[in-house]
């Protein structure tokens, strides 16, 4: 049983890597270029598909684009040059890393705005809550002093 488990875990570690090496059909002499290629196809989006990066997509267009990126990486073009080439053709849609510009302000800054609004309400809620507990304490004190007063008065009457 123990052996079986060990084999299972070894397979778990090895299998994804072999699967990956099957997919990658692009041959590089330079590992740095290969790393750049892998990063690019992981960050770029397939224009034909709605939510798939180039690396995961097997559509005809993605294969063509990967071929082009491979040629350009091999030819020594920079990441920037390749991005400009693709954005000139497919627009910002191609990149999963949208640029900061007026139409994407909501996307980039929206979360911080919501965080601020949430923080504001949390602060208000907390401070009103604190006020409530203070009021409660005051009430209790008042009630206690009244009780004491009554007890005293009752005692006074008894002695009379």
């Amino acid at each position: 049983m123990k052996k079986l488990l060990v084999t299972f875990f070894i397979l778990l570690v090895i299998l994804p890597q072999t699967a990956f090496s099957v997919i990658s059909v692009y041959q590089f002499d330079d590992p740095a270029k290969e790393a750049r290629f892998n990063q690019l196809v992981n960050e770029l989006r397939c224009p034909k598909c709605q939510n798939n990066n180039l690396a995961d997509s097997n559509s005809e267009l993605s294969i063509d684009l990967k071929d082009i990126i491979y040629e350009k990486v091999q030819a020594g073009e920079s990441d920037e040059q390749i991005l400009v080439y693709l954005k000139d053709r497919y627009g910002d849609f191609i990149s999963y890393n949208p640029p900061v510009k007026p139409s994407t302000w909501l996307l980039w800054y929206g979360p911080f705005v919501f965080l601020l609004i949430g923080g504001f309400f949390l602060y208000r809620f907390q401070s009103s809550h604190r006020q409530d507990t203070q009021d409660q304490q005051n009430d209790e004190q008042q009630a206690n002093s009244m009780l004491e007063q009554w007890a005293k008065e009752a005692k006074d009457q008894e002695t009379k």
Binding site: P47, Q50, E60, L61, D88, R89, Y90, G91, R124
Partner: protein, 175 residues
Amino acid sequence: MNKQLLWLPFAAFIILGLILYSGIGKDPTKLDSRLIGKAIPAFSKSLLLSDQTITEKDIKGPALINVFASWCPACYSEHPYLMELSAKEKVVIYGLNYKDDKQDALKFIDRLGNPYNMIIFDNNGRLGIDLGVYGAPETFVVDKSNTIVYRHVGEVNERVWTNIILPKMLGTEGQ
């Protein structure tokens, strides 16, 4: 707590509702073309029906450039309307046979007719990529000065022609 603040969730609901409502009916698969207002990208390609090679200078606007392929189902249903456009309306249409097998493309034209002035044979799809093509059929509207003024993704039919493409073409002719 302040009573007026109770209106805030309601206001937030209305605003969110308006934002989401404005998205209804928009097709997220339709991308804007980067080529609007730009010249036809430079190319040198052979024709489908002859061995002649043409470049972007051989395209004379105002015209349509229709991206089609025999593997594209919508191209079959679009084709009869393109035949009608070229025959009745005398529209100049250039075909861009996109990533197709030559024999299949020839069969397609043979069977359905040829509405095109010229058919550019883009077997490796590189001209398509230069045009930002991401799915056939696509139709580019080119004006008199060979500038791309509009790109339509999907089938061209009578409704698309009269409502969208014709106004764009007339706009260019009025200049």
